[in-house]
């Protein structure tokens, strides 16, 4: 091998090594620059774990506050009972009807998600931009006799909106992203049969929109209370008719 050839081989080696380093740098940049509206690409494990643990911490804090609220409400209920047994019993009944109490029972859990390709190749969320499908789903659940409904643990009441906000949807004023887990308490068989009809809403989600849809009957579902606004600024209640 001549000196010249040796030199070329050396350059080639440096070239390859530099390329490898470049590859790693590029990957590093790609994995960190994913915040913002468009979120394609990949995220490092550390970042993913950080966000998972943040959610876990906030959930723990939320659960604690929920417990505290329950205790206070139990105490308040005692005072109300001591003041007027009848009023307290009525209030409890109407709160339940309004969706202001946690409820548990049997029913179905439906998971609606974007096609896999949206996750791997990026692009707009189909279910988010066609959120009227969720309206139709909630409507069908009510028709099938659902007594309580939530989407991603946001209780659906008479005051719940499902609206597009940027690239997410807002339910009860808070943003949420797919997958959408819809829980409904009611007769599991009736709920599943009603939703499962051919050319029904779940059928359409799958066949017309290519969404991934799963439905499962459950013997125990917990649906949280509505925590949003319950006081009125413009409407004044007038008792009776």
């Amino acid at each position: 091998m001549s000196d010249r050839n040796k030199k070329v081989a050396g350059y080639a080696l440096v070239c390859v090594l530099t390329m490898i380093i470049g590859f790693f740098i590029a990957m590093q940049i790609k994995t960190t620059a994913v915040t913002g509206d468009y979120a394609g690409g990949m995220v490092s494990l550390a970042q993913a774990q950080a966000s998972i643990s943040e959610v876990a911490n906030l959930r723990a804090e939320k659960d604690e506050l929920n417990d505290e609220l329950s205790k206070l409400e139990a105490q308040l209920k005692e005072y109300e009972k001591n003041s007027s047994e009848a009023a307290a019993a009525d209030a409890e009944k109407y709160r339940m009807l309004a969706g202001l109490t946690d409820v548990a029972g049997k029913g179905v859990v439906i998971t609606v998600d974007d096609p896999e390709a949206i996750y791997t190749q990026g692009g707009d969320s189909i279910i988010t931009y066609n959120y009227e499908l969720l309206l139709a789903l909630v409507n069908k659940l009510r028709e099938a006799g659902a007594e309580a409904i939530s989407i991603n643990d946001r209780r659906i009441t008479a005051y719940s909106e499902i609206s597009l906000a940027g690239s997410n949807i807002n339910i009860n004023g808070s943003a949420t992203a797919p997958p959408y887990e819809v829980k409904a308490i009611g007769d599991p068989q009736t709920l599943e049969s009603t939703l499962g009809i051919r050319y029904g809403v779940l059928y359409s989600m799958k066949n017309d929109y290519g969404l991934s849809v799963q439905i499962a009957q459950k013997s125990e579902i917990n649906i949280p209370r509505y925590t949003g606004r319950t006081s009125f600024k413009y409407a004044a209640p007038t008792e009776g008719e």
Binding site: L17, S44, L69, A177, A235, G240, E241
Partner: protein
């Protein structure tokens, strides 16, 4: 001798360097196999959105906790008479009734009239294109709630947490009651903002209008909305 030394140092250097890169690749792959080094950014975005929503939920819970504490303090206060305690319990009952839609409501707002189109069908239209569908009503209800509606009725039927809207041939069933056209929405809330939200360019009402349906919005400063029939 010097030449050989230089070469050796060079070789060792490249060896160490390659070794480091190799370790790098290996460790990346290693994590990849065991617990996925790279997850889709979409799923992490979901986490960020959820974290934000939980912060808002925590705020709402704190507000509820404050409210309950104030109420408890009122009952505990020595200044509160027995009669006042009773009145507070009755207020609490009325508040729950109102939240459930089981009291009539009065206030300002808007009325909307939604009706089938009356014009002749265009060549490409079918009768189904110019009649009111259940989904139209659902979308309008949802838009009204987004716009801050506090109480809504359609042809006298109060919208509550259990209200469903279903197609029933030539009629639409709302909460199980058959309703025929025209559909009259009474909506209590901020009349100005409700009006502008419902008549906004590109809004659903205007889309229906463009399709040939009747969609009219009017402000009203004194509406009366029925209570829901209540317990089922």
């Amino acid at each position: 001798m010097r030449r050989v030394e230089k070469r050796t140092i060079g070789a060792v250097l490249i060896f160490v360097f390659c070794f480091a890169i190799g370790v790098g690749i290996a460790s990346h792959n290693g994590i990849g196999i065991s617990d996925r080094a790279y997850v889709s950014a979409k799923s992490i975005e979901g986490n960020l959105v959820e974290a934000e929503a939980m912060k808002e939920e925590i705020e709402r819970l704190n507000a509820l906790i404050d409210d309950r504490r104030t109420k408890i303090a009122y009952y505990q206060s020595e200044k509160t008479t027995r009669a006042e305690q009773n009145a507070a319990a009755q207020d609490s009952r009325l508040e729950a009734m109102a939240a459930a839609g089981c009291t009539a409501m009065e206030g300002p707002g808007i009325t909307i009239v939604l009706d089938d189109g009356a014009g002749a069908l265009k060549e490409w239209e079918t009768p189904g294109d110019i009649v009111v569908h259940d989904l139209d009503i659902l979308i309008l209800l949802n838009d009204l709630i987004s716009a801050g509606a506090e109480a809504i009725s359609i042809n006298g039927i109060r919208y509550t947490a259990d209200t469903e809207v279903t197609c029933a041939g030539h009629t639409v069933k709302i909460s199980g009651v058959k309703c025929a056209r025209p559909f009259v929405f009474k909506v209590i809330g901020d009349a100005d903002s409700l009006y502008s939200e419902m008549t906004i360019q590109g809004g659903y009402g205007n889309i229906l209008k463009e399709c040939g349906l009747v969609f009219e919005v009017e402000k009203d400063d004194a509406l009366h909305i029925n209570a829901s029939d209540g317990m089922e």
